[in-house]
Amino acid sequence: MSQIILFWSVLACEAILALAMACAAYRLARGPRAQDRVLSLDAFYVSGMLLLVTFGIRTGTTLYFEAALIIGTLGFVSTLALAKFLMRGEVIE
């Protein structure tokens, strides 16, 4: 019984997170300006990180946790670099 509940709830969670990533991808493609695209890329990264956490729950291994941590770090650095680029036109002055 508990296995069935867990299976369907993890599946629903993954579907909802995929829908959230689709919303972020729509805004990423639509724009209209560069800062909207950077913001949606950040939301895309966060949704992907949460999706990896749910994959970890589905498989029962903590391997995906490390991947989620790396995704979160890369999302932070990339958003920071892109925001710096939008502000000044170059990343490292």
């Binding site: 969670c13 805004r27 729950i57 932070f76 925001a83 502000m87």
Partner: protein, 136 residues
């Protein structure tokens, strides 16, 4: 999903936490699609980075604590990292967007109170005004 000894209360708790967290993240992304201006849009995904992340990571903590029969708190690392970095990135992004809008003399953005900023904006007056973005 290992073993049949997973207790029902834990399964229900994990399910509720996961679905609540993913729904909050979805709400944030829908808000990012539907809001009109960038300064409204930048508020929306933070519901996913705050409570969406907290709920999903809490579900993961409950699941691994029950399956491994010992406290699993490594998800707290992700929570600390996300909650520290999100305000930094989004404030920098908002400052960058404000700077760009002021350079382009967007009428919806109020002028800066800093005289140095205003001097920079005056110097950019020669630059051609950007065409109006029609997408809402």
């Amino acid at each position: 999903m290992s073993g049949d000894q997973f207790p029902l209360w834990a399964a229900i708790a994990v399910s509720v936490l996961l679905v609540a967290g993913s729904l909050l993240t979805l709400a944030g992304c829908i808000g990012m699609v539907r809001f009109r201006s960038f300064y409204q849009r930048i508020h929306a995904p933070t519901i996913g980075t705050s409570f969406g992340t907290i709920f999903i990571l809490a579900g993961s903590v409950v699941y691994f604590t029950v399956t491994q029969l010992r406290p699993a708190v490594h998800e707290v690392l992700i929570f600390v990292f996300v909650s520290v970095t999100t305000p930094v990135t989004l404030m920098l992004l908002a400052r960058a967007a404000l700077y760009r809008d002021r350079i382009e003399r967007d009428p919806d953005v109020p002028p800066s109170k800093d005289p140095l900023d205003n001097a920079e904006m005056e110097a950019s007056k020669q630059a051609p005004r950007r065409p109006a973005v029609k997408e809402a």
